[in-house]
């Protein structure tokens, strides 16, 4: 009889603790639920084990690009990459590998001119192809991996 009551009491207190804890965490849960748009637009870095994984950066990701040439788009994308890498604790020199996806191979030379200017000390391993389509009306998309150095 006493045991039964103790069990009931224990179960009740456990439930109470769980409710209290979930009330405590509710603001965070609500904040998470309220901000799915913000999270979807954010292309910040995934950092793990000393490596920064740079998600594909297009020219219109952080707001519409000013200008419509491949030079304008490349500059915008490289600035995005610089910001993401530095936010993750790396530098342009610590980028290890980049993948460049172009809307057309015709833009290859112009893209290179702007691209190389971001690596005065030598660039990372790069792979470039032209693809059938890129989301967000960008003329190029670049993703890659950088090392954390700070």
């Amino acid at each position: 009889m006493a045991t039964g009551q103790n069990e009931k009491r224990r179960a009740f207190l456990a439930n109470l603790a769980a409710i209290a804890a979930s009330i405590w965490a509710a603001p965070k849960l609500l904040a998470k639920a309220a901000a799915p748009q913000a999270q979807a637009k954010r292309h910040g870095p995934m950092v793990h084990d000393g490596l920064i994984y740079i998600s594909g950066q297009g020219a219109n990701d952080s707001g519409a690009v000013q200008g419509s040439t491949i030079g304008d788009h490349t500059r915008k994308v490289m600035e995005n990459i610089k910001r993401v890498v530095e936010e993750g604790g790396g530098t342009m020199d610590s980028i290890l590998q980049l993948n460049v996806y172009l809307a057309t191979l015709e833009h290859y030379e112009e893209m290179n001119k702007v691209y190389y200017s971001y690596f005065p000390n030598g660039g990372p391993a790069r792979c470039t192809v032209a693809v059938c389509g890129i989301p967000g009306r960008s003329l190029l998309e670049i993703s890659g991996i950088a090392a954390v150095v700070k």
Binding site: A21, K28, G88, Q97, Y108, P120, P124, A125, R126, V149
Partner: protein
Amino acid sequence: MLNVLGIRKELTSLIHSPAAESGSGAGPAAISSAGAAQNESGIRKLSYDGSPAKGGIAPVVVHNGLIYVAGQGANENQAEATLDITTHVQRAMDNVKKLVEVAGGDMDHVLQLTVYLASLEFYDAMNRAYRPYFPNGGPARCTVSVAGIPGKSLVEISCIAAVVRH
């Protein structure tokens, strides 16, 4: 009846949200000179012959035991272009092999590799030319055909390998 364990798991993952990891405790923050860029933070950018690469594209980059090989096509170091998929795959893979080995790896330790083809019609011929490079089994591979590849190559191949010799 409340699922106490379930709630506790959800709360743990919320409260311990992933924080940005700091690096492996490697060197100073600012990298200012070309020479420093090679050695600080343990990043080595190499050419086909193993000498330091200083150009806009490093053929291969080594960091923390991993080897990052830049996209290799068929016409990188060749004087004249041919249009045979087998030759193109072999040239690209020969370049991959050279770079992996110069960086301290070997073909058995290529981890992940991506093949970009000018056309899916080349898929079978590419596979036949590709297989002999991995007699002991090949890496995780992803293959797609694309709209265009620089340098008039029918194929572009990039990969990540592990360092096995220092």
